[in-house]
């Protein structure tokens, strides 16, 4: 499976040989000029130093981090436990656990969120008709145990 060798005349060969002797080093020097320029110009460094820049590091407002319920200062949420987000979620990462309040009405008992399987697609937020959930800007979520990824998002039972 050798590639066929294309026959080439000696004069052409020598011409090409000499040409390469001259253009080759020039092309290499051109490459070297780029790296030298980059080496001697520390302004080009674009590194963001993550743990050190924690204070100034801000995610964009649309960034999809971890799901959270929108709560007011009394920890009251807007969720009506309609279950649309649950249905919209592609891999059942949201558990709406309903309960009955004292008046016998179905309200949100627990808003359980399985971060371990969440894919941050944002479909739940699009599905919510009440604007009760959002994705926050949190990204420092790593943990040593899988069980810590089951989050209860609501602090209080839903109103209803």
């Amino acid at each position: 499976m050798k590639q066929p060798e294309i026959p080439i005349s000696p004069s052409k060969y020598i011409k090409r040989y000499l040409k390469r002797c001259i253009t080759g080093p020039i092309s290499l020097l051109m490459g070297l000029s780029v790296t030298l320029r980059y080496f001697f110009n520390p302004k080009r460094i674009i590194t963001e130093q993550y743990p050190e820049n924690k204070k100034t590091l801000k995610m964009h407002p649309r960034y999809r981090g971890c799901l959270e319920l929108i709560e007011d200062e009394n920890d009251e949420n807007l969720c009506t436990a309609c279950g649309l987000c649950e249905k919209a979620c592609p891999n059942a990462s949201i558990n709406i656990l309903k309960t009955k309040n004292i008046a016998g009405k179905k309200v949100l008992g627990q808003y359980l969120f399985h971060l371990g399987s969440c894919t941050q697609c944002g479909l739940c937020i699009e599905a919510c008709p009440f604007g009760a959930i959002r994705m926050n800007q949190e990204f420092e979520l790593s943990s040593e145990s899988v069980d810590s990824f089951d989050l209860i998002l609501n602090k209080k039972e839903g109103r209803g």
């Binding site: 499976m1 080759g24 080093p25 092309s27 780029v34 964009h60 649309r62 941050q120």
Partner: protein
């Protein structure tokens, strides 16, 4: 020799009986197989006699899973196919859904789509530049390519909310409108990119070692390129001018003025040149879009639940890798009956054996990187 049983997949007869051939496995974990691809090599010394790719190391059953998801949820899975240009996959899927729903996209929505898709194309080609340089042994090129790509992903992050898996387009438009900062950011990015590309091209394009290693290597003839179903830059480098954006336009590509870069030798270097030229074409498209960017609604009316009219729908888009075709079979209900996607990498990789035969292992690496495959798109 002939009595020895060849491993599965190999089929060529032994040609050179003087030397002992041996078999080497490249992958599934190997620094230059671009993911979980396994290449079984049949070598004669360092010369490749035959390459047999083995797939499925990242086969995630996306097509099966799609049958139990609704249409909207499937868009999320399309991100995970060609993750380098997830945004273009979103578009391809949404095009097919729009045909089934009979809805269109307002003009502003189309512009948003084109701009994000072209940004995605630049990002993907920059990753190609990076991997190409890296696979040739120049680690610095690897970092150069990613440097500008980060800026694109920062823009995508701001617009879509995620760096890679954007999940941004919906049938009829997109999830959000673009933020006000988008246009100025893209403008300044394009200026920066053009400046950097001068450096980057100087760094690799004329370098004699690169030329020596790529010119005349991995030649894919025009006929073979068509026969193997190659598409995208691989096809265009072989002298076939087929670009879905030009030859079968979708979106607003028929209103934009751009060229389809094409070269004729079909070797590794040409594929590199085509991709670099495509970056410049994408810059041109983006500049036009910025100039023409209209006001108005960014999406058409949302449907409460997406149910396609029963039937089968086909859409073709040009992603950075090539022809990305979606075939949706819809029955009643809100779930697709079957979704099949034709990933460009799958067909492009089919030509690998043809290209790599008779070359050295080092060439195989550079040929593979100019095919620029994304393995999850192949395995799905």
């Amino acid at each position: 020799m002939s009595s020895r049983k060849l491993p599965p997949g190999f089929r060529e007869e032994v040609l050179d009986s003087d030397t002992e051939e041996y078999f080497v496995n490249m992958g599934p974990q190997h620094p230059s197989t671009h993911g979980a691809l396994r290449l079984a090599l049949r070598l004669d010394g360092e010369t490749i006699v035959e390459v047999v790719p083995h797939f499925g190391y990242i086969h995630r059953g996306i097509e099966k899973q799609a049958e139990s998801m609704n249409y909207l949820q499937y868009i999320m899975l399309s991100d995970r196919q060609d993750y380098l240009t997830a945004i273009q996959n979103n578009w391809g899927i949404c095009l097919a859904f729009e045909k089934g729903l009979g809805i269109g996209v307002p003009e502003r929505g189309e512009f948003i789509r084109v701009m994000l898709a072209e940004l995605g194309r630049i990002a993907s080609h920059l990753v190609f530049y990076a991997c190409f340089g890296g696979d040739l042994g120049g680690q610095t090129a690897l970092l150069f390519g990613f440097k500008e790509r980060e800026m694109i992903h920062d823009i995508l992050d701001e617009v879509t909310g995620s760096r890679l898996t954007t999940n941004f387009f919906r049938p009829g438009g997109s999830v959000h409108d673009i933020p006000d900062t988008f246009i100025p950011r893209v403008t300044s990015f394009l200026e920066h990119l053009e400046k950097s590309m001068v450096d980057y091209e100087r760094f690799l394009s004329k370098n004699i070692i690169v030329l020596e290693r790529t010119k005349g290597i991995g030649i894919l003839s025009k006929e073979d390129a068509i026969a193997y179903g190659c598409s995208g830059p691989v096809l265009r480098a072989s002298g076939v001018s087929y670009d879905v954006r030009k030859n079968d336009p979708y979106g607003i590509y028929d209103q934009l003025d751009f060229d389809v870069p094409i070269t004729y030798r079909g070797d590794t270097y040409d594929r590199y040149v085509v991709r670099i030229a495509e970056i410049h074409e994408s810059i041109k498209i983006l500049r036009q879009c910025i100039k023409l960017f209209p006001e108005g609604p960014y999406r058409s009316k949302e449907k409460p639940s997406i149910r396609l009219n029963p039937g089968s729908y086909y859409s073709a888009t040009e992603t950075a890798k090539g022809l990305y075709a979606t075939y949706v079979v819809a029955a009643s209900g809100d779930k697709p009956y079957r979704i099949h996607t034709r990933g460009p990498s799958f067909a492009n990789l089919a030509a690998l054996n043809n290209m790599a035969r008779g070359h050295k292992i080092s060439d195989l690496v550079s040929i593979l990187s100019t095919i620029d495959p994304v393995i999850p798109e192949i395995d799905r």
